[in-house]
Subunit: 420 residues, 2 copies
Amino acid sequence: MTADVSRLCSDLARNARLAATQLGCVTGAAKNAWLLASADALVRHADLLISANREDVKEAEANGLSPASIDRLRLTPARIAQAAEGMRQVAALADPVGQIREGSVRPNGLQVQKIGVPLGVILFIYESRPNVTVDAAALCIKSGNAVILRGGKEAMHSNTALHRVLQEPLRAVGLPEQGVQLVPTTDREAVGQLLKMGEFIDLVIPRGGESLIRRVAAEATMPVLKHFNGICHVYVDRDADLDMAERIIINSKCQRPGVCNALESVLIHADVAETFLPQIGKALAERNVQIRGCETTRKHIAQSIPATESDYSTEFLDLIVSMKVVSDLEGAIAHINRHGSKHTDAIITRSLSASQRFVAAVDSSAVIVNASTRFNDGFELGLAAEVGISTDKFHARGPCGLQELTTYKYVVMGSGQIRE
Amino acid sequence: MTADVSRLCSDLARNARLAATQLGCVTGAAKNAWLLASADALVRHADLLISANREDVKEAEANGLSPASIDRLRLTPARIAQAAEGMRQVAALADPVGQIREGSVRPNGLQVQKIGVPLGVILFIYESRPNVTVDAAALCIKSGNAVILRGGKEAMHSNTALHRVLQEPLRAVGLPEQGVQLVPTTDREAVGQLLKMGEFIDLVIPRGGESLIRRVAAEATMPVLKHFNGICHVYVDRDADLDMAERIIINSKCQRPGVCNALESVLIHADVAETFLPQIGKALAERNVQIRGCETTRKHIAQSIPATESDYSTEFLDLIVSMKVVSDLEGAIAHINRHGSKHTDAIITRSLSASQRFVAAVDSSAVIVNASTRFNDGFELGLAAEVGISTDKFHARGPCGLQELTTYKYVVMGSGQIRE
């Protein structure tokens, strides 16, 4: 059994490497033709996809999965149309391969260009939502990479059907069929085997809970693009517009509480605590947000409950917020750099110098002045599609789109130059 | 003992993290003041440095190190002056921290900037040449990073003296003294301990032999910037200017045979083999270069010896070259992608289409048309100083300079925007 899985994974990785060699050199037109053909095929085969998905849903219900999990798992005509639309949007984006990132002519006449090229083979490991199968394949192929997809076992029927629909048009447009592969087993051993194949796989992207990411990071022999917690802060400065602060806190916390760029912790300058705490307490109460606060918070917000130290390092992903009064801007910065997760942190202030100091000193993938934390997102920052928000500093930080799925090479054009 | 080393390493890492927090926010003027003061101090303390170095050299001689190793280890007034000059050159470079890499205004008025920031803490592990101590410290501080230096045990006296000279001006210009630390023990256990501290150290750069790099890559819990072999090719196309090909091969092989961007393997299109092999055989013989060739090579170059399969995957770092006749351009590309090390590969051709195909299909950090492989170098490509040439694809590829020692953050300036 283990030998079979090992052989299977080795074949997947080698096939992907071969496909990647071809994909690095194909035209943007061929890649776009595949994206558009696949989008059409998804819609055309919607019935087939939904019936495969129904088997997953049936098993999930039998296994007692939560209604929320079953909802994430479910494919509907609307969701399939949305996935197809996503592929069409990716087709419309500029090709990152061949993009000249920098260029210069050296004194000896050498023309030096730094040019975007694919990473090669990407292993994508994800959990229940089957539409990730479509998004990941679209972004990897557009960026010239071969992808090995490893979905959650709950979505195996759906992913198998989706994969079939996506793979067929590859052949039709002349791209290598092994450019998009799905691991055809739910055996957990397969992940371990694939993570050993650093020789053939250039990057692994785990999308899911913290334990998945930690396991992948511990076992991988290739680079990992990690997407950890978002413990995001809004700091209300002494010079804040307090009504703006309220609007931004409510939006950051409540607009979609279950996502990584949602607000988890509010810090308030001591000088405005007495005014602002009752105001924000009322606004959060109206939206049923539980407040876990420091002593001063509790004095001014009757419904708040005491925060423990660990509440300040918790990603609630729910209608819960921690709250703390800090003595000054430096106290806020120190708190964020200690308790935050380098994801997204915002300051609300009218002070230019406070905004400058906050921006310089907070070491997060996005530092935001006077706007919602929810803006740290590929679409909102102008990257278009994204595969996740990196909490790493290496290679890619923050939202990762097509550019982040590529690397570069130097192309040097000469006319016989040698070194003296 | 092990407990002591563990404690020592933990202190080094924590101190570096604290220093990094400060270094990320200092002015370029302060960093440049340190570079210039250190350059002066190196020259001023040359006697002290040379006398410390003399102890290392004495021990090296007693331990029977090779004359070449001892030469690399030796500090001279000229070498110290050169290291000081290097620091002055780094001072003159633009500050990569705060550099706006991209910027746009979103439709909702949000101003989005992608801004260069330091990686944080860099662990630099290197072997005998003590001037790396100076180069590494200069580049890390200029890019706003704290550095932990771990030099080779052969250079411990020299490195300790250099470190003292470099650390003193930090205090004087108001930078954190722990920004440049040296591991004060030669205990091998220290490297293992430091490699566990991914929480405090953001990047490790091993500079040395393959076994060092493999050990570091296997044990590190943080990203590693790897600098592996350079198995560099020159492919002489059917449409090559053969005199240019000769000049470029001779320069690539002989100008400095012991470095990673030196030529190791020559590929020749079958159609020009009969003409070119005697010509290049003669030119290489005049420079005492040993040729290990395929059957056709041996037919035309009398002094050549038969190449084994492993010769085509060997980095000789010496006056030895492997040589093979290939049937066509595609054969050359396939050979390079199979046997090369993704470092530096060149084509000599007059054909535009051949150059375009070669550039697109060869997956190396630098792909060169009609010029010497020796140009894949930070200075030659216009990056100024470099810490090495990455053979990785992730984060940084090819020569790594100041830019590659930084990452970025998104800075988002709003006026109250929330997400709808």
